[in-house]
Assembly symmetry: C2
Homo-oligomer: 613 residues x 2
């Protein structure tokens, strides 16, 4: 649909807007000015109104964030336990999530961001555990010392505004990352070939969820599997059904409709939890892996706590006690150089902290999300370093901004139109505060968490994935491969670019997506995931401009205002061209062209009207 075939008389597309498609680094705010600026802009200015905007949505979103946070927290906790020999376990993960969530809600710069465990940090911690084992120094000591270095690096980076490099990421990188997140949602919910999670895994008789019932003659793995699948997909369907009421005519007024919409997720979870517990009380389905009671996970053989029960003292009936909460900095097994050596792994830890936080912050602060309370990259990086130092001292896992719950949080607080475009977001500290208070409180009633069937939560994740898909332009372009070109939906790029050029760009982006996807999913290299995402930035800055013209990159990858500017310039140039031709060639011979042109514009107006509805 390239409309510039009129040839050399029209100005070339590339000359319409000088410098189109280029990306610029913002000016640095060195010597801590960035931190202070962030604090003033994001915390000082908005703190009070973010603390008092309590309404119905606050309740709905609090419960929603709670159930979406508690599930990965417990899952990560269990994996941490296996990977670190119970030095860090589910209780530690819950405690860390809760205290950081509460504190961050009160003093953080971007309180829409939910902080939690992520895969790369887990992989790094596992590596650090193996280093400590090889060194023959207690893991928690190494971990604590590394944390000290970590906070130092984080503070320096914030002090010199190194976070400004994150802002070089454009839609190209953001959408690769967003689609990776969607793939995590959907695969985890339906069938993840890499990690044995997802509803269809229950059909496999060897799946670990069936293991506890191996010797139970009443247990039928197929019954559990089929029930799980029904609960999961049923929950997804019910959420979409409830949310559909928002733009319907049902109920007495818009507030009731909005309430049904806001409570759609939590309502559906409750409905299907009831269905499971009362409809099928005798059919076990997988539940959250909840620890038995609130105490450090590591159990000691004796008072010194240098050996672990029951591994190291199998003949001992019960543990002597649990490890102390505080790490012993001096317990270096005579190796005084270890605290210095920890500076090296701390670099890796810092890079993860920087990248993992950075990508998520950048995605959350995307312009289309209409956030108005500013970005606090430097201030929050400093906070993040501080939080993780405390965690290092206590033997709690390092936490960073966790993309999945962040997006859920953002979308739940957003007011959208019928097409899912965000109109405004209720920026608040209360939902993060209350939801993480709930995480803390749930440590007191741990067994209650077991009531929620895990398949129902998978249903929630599936909903999350599916509902964000339509908003990702990369996905829309990917679908163009399967659509009839003549009826492609009208967008700036389909209107003005050649079809093959669009496909070429999508293929290039898909290659990078595949690269990141593989790294994210293959366990042994998953630690490199944030690096791979960041690799997309130089690809956009240095490779793409060689393959595409600036105006093409602008249409595909620019900000909305830039695209609008270019389209305006293009249409203006066509109008001028027509005018010149009309003048120079006489009126009669040219009526057709003018008519054609105005027809084209009419068509476009119709198209865009259709798209609006």
């Amino acid at each position: 649909m390239c409309k510039s075939t009129d040839g050399d008389k029209l100005p070339a597309n590339s000359t319409l807007v000088p410098g189109a498609g280029s990306v610029h680094l913002s000016a640095p705010m060195l010597w801590g000015k960035g931190i202070i600026h962030d604090f003033k802009e994001c915390v000082w200015q908005h703190w009070w109104k973010e603390m008092i905007n309590f309404n119905q949505k606050t309740v709905a979103v609090t419960l929603l964030v709670f159930i979406t946070v508690i599930a990965p927290t417990l899952t990560f906790g269990a994996v941490y336990g296996k990977s670190t020999n119970n030095n860090i376990g589910a209780i530690e993960t819950m405690l860390a999530t809760s205290w950081i969530g509460i504190t961050y809600a009160l003093i953080g710069g971007m309180p829409l961001c939910v902080i939690g465990s992520t895969g790369p940090v887990l992989a790094f911690t596992t590596a650090l555990f193996n280093i400590a084992k090889n060194l023959d120094v207690p893991f928690l000591t190494v971990y604590a010392w590394t944390s000290v270095w970590l906070v130092g690096y984080a503070f320096l980076a914030a002090f010199f505004d190194l976070t400004r490099f994150v802002r070089l990421a454009t839609r190209f990188t953001d959408e690769i990352f967003a689609l990776i997140i969607v793939s995590i949602f959907v695969l985890d919910a339906v069938w993840d070939p890499f990690s044995e999670t997802g509803l269809f895994w229950y059909l496999s008789p060897g799946h670990q969820s069936h293991a506890p019932y191996e010797n139970d003659p009443d247990y039928n793995h197929l019954t559990s599997a089929l029930l799980s699948i029904l609960l999961g997909f049923g929950c997804t369907w019910l959420i979409f059904f409830f949310r559909g009421f928002k733009f319907s005519e049902f109920f007495c007024n818009q507030s009731i409709r909005t309430m049904v919409h806001d409570f759609a997720v939590i309502g559906s979870v409750i409905v299907f939890t009831i269905v499971k517990q009362f409809g099928f009380p005798d059919v076990p389905t997988e539940t959250l892996n909840v620890p038995a009671q609130f105490e450090p996970t590591y159990k000691c053989c004796d008072a010194s706590c240098r050996t672990q029960w029951p591994m190291d003292c199998a003949d001992q009936g019960a543990p002597f006690g649990t490890r102390p909460w505080f790490a012993d900095f001096g317990d270096l097994n005579g190796k005084g150089w270890v605290p210095i050596m920890c500076a090296a792994p701390a670099i890796g830890a810092f890079l993860l902290l920087y990248l993992d936080n950075g990508i998520t912050w950048h995605l959350i602060n995307h312009k289309s999300h209409q956030l108005e309370h500013g970005e606090a990259y430097n201030y929050d990086l400093m906070l993040s370093g501080f939080f993780n130092m405390v965690n290092g001292f206590l033997g709690l896992p390092w936490l960073v901004a966790s993309t999945v719950p962040c997006i859920i949080h953002l979308q739940a607080l957003a007011e959208t139109d019928r097409n899912g475009n965000i109109l405004s977001v209720q920026e608040t500290r209360l939902t993060l505060l209350f939801s993480h208070l709930l995480v803390g409180l749930s440590m007191l009633v741990l067994s209650a968490l077991e009531l929620i069937p895990l398949p129902v939560l998978y249903g929630v994740f599936l909903f999350m994935g599916l509902s964000s898909l339509p908003k990702i332009q990369f996905w829309q372009r990917f679908l163009l491969f399967f659509k009839q070109p003549a009826v492609w939906p009208s967008t700036p790029y389909t209107d003005w670019m050649k079809k093959l050029r669009i496909h070429k760009y999508t293929v290039f982006q898909t290659l990078f997506f595949a690269l990141v996807f593989v790294v994210q999913n293959v366990k042994v290299i998953s630690i490199a995931f944030p690096f791979m995402v960041f690799l997309c930035i130089p690809a956009r800055l240095f490779v793409l401009p060689k393959l595409f013209e600036g105006w093409e990159l602008e249409l595909l990858d620019g900000e909305d205002e830039q695209i609008e500017e270019w389209v305006d310039a293009k249409e203006e140039s066509i109008r001028n061209f027509e005018k010149r031709r009309t003048v120079s060639m006489g009126e009669e011979s040219d009526n057709d062209t003018v008519n054609q042109n105005s027809e084209k514009q009419d068509n476009e107006m119709e198209k865009s009207e259709e798209a609006d509805v």
Copy 2:
């Protein structure tokens, strides 16, 4: 939203169109003229083109009608077997369905109508069986003699054009009946409290589908139930998904999209049959109740065939043979008056034939269905009498136009717009012909029918019900009870009638619906179902005009052209009124009113544009 509050200056709504809302009987075509007219109009004129319009849709619809016909045929067959002591059974039902379907496709007047077993006729046959038992005359003899009278009555009714009374039914009656049909679809598919059919019934351990596996230790009724529910709802979802492609941009061109749409049902049935047979080969789910081989169901103890094996000769290892196909008219047990007496029950049988056929024909020929090949009520009533006489001689069940498959057939052949409104229907004899040829052929490979899981067919029925709901105005008005009045969708009645009047009409209609619904579902009185539907006609003719004004009935119950005429008259009267006021009162004082009016019209235009998209 009554807009006539301007009071006595505007002409009253009731005077706008004289005689609005009244219903008239068409002129009779006595002395067989109706039959001849029907034959000329419907058969002679269109036969050839209805026999050669073979295309892709023919294949899709043939398969669709086959699977929707075969299921009730076998189900009714099983119930006939129980009710008539195997005098009539599944084989007889299949044979009757097949030969009548093929013959009707070739010579019938309205070849969109599918002919099959219905509940009321079954109930009547059961009653006749009990009469014969009390008389101590063989049932098949009584049945054959009744059939002779039946065809006589049917011929007389056709000869004197008695079918013209069916045309008195308006949207009021049609939509009550249509909603009853939808309730049958949905309840049968999901959970029918009256007949133990539907997906959720499988959850009950005592359901008859679990009985064959009572002593099978490997059988788990919950597994079967959950799998059945998944297959059923999965199939419904997949059909809607496939059909959605028709109005999408996917695939290379519109013909592929239309193909996906046309084969949506049969494709989904195949997909879920494969899922069941290959994914879960070891989990039994309910299948069609298929007879073992092709022969009369009734088995005899000896050559005279006066006693039934195994009931009457339990010690005999095998039956002597089966009953002969032809009824013995002389086997009256010495009661020579029985052939005369059969005139009495034949009246009841005829009324059923007349009513059951009539309602269905009327529903199928509704104007909104855009059928162009005419109505052949008289000719088809005569044919129906003849067919059932033959069936009476052979001991096959009486068949009448069967609403559910008729609607499926009609809708599958229809071309619709995005909102499901029918634009045109491919009127053909081929689909009925081929599908009933398939029914006949399937008697040769009876066991192959057992491959289709019944829950998948339930999924098809659920789809059928849900997809016809939006088109029923009665249902749309019922939903108004739950909608915010300020945002009611714009229709002629919501635009011009008072809200409470609409509700009053809907309540009245709902009462009649409830009455018909109860009669239809309570077994012992279900024989009266067609009478109850016909009761709606006098209710509309004599009761409704006392409760509502003519113009209100016209808006709610009139044909589309009548409604348009009234709305035009109304708008014209408003315009004239405004003009008079402007002239008589000077321009200044009246600008507001004119503006208000034009604003109102603008709003309406916007509304209707929204509704179109």
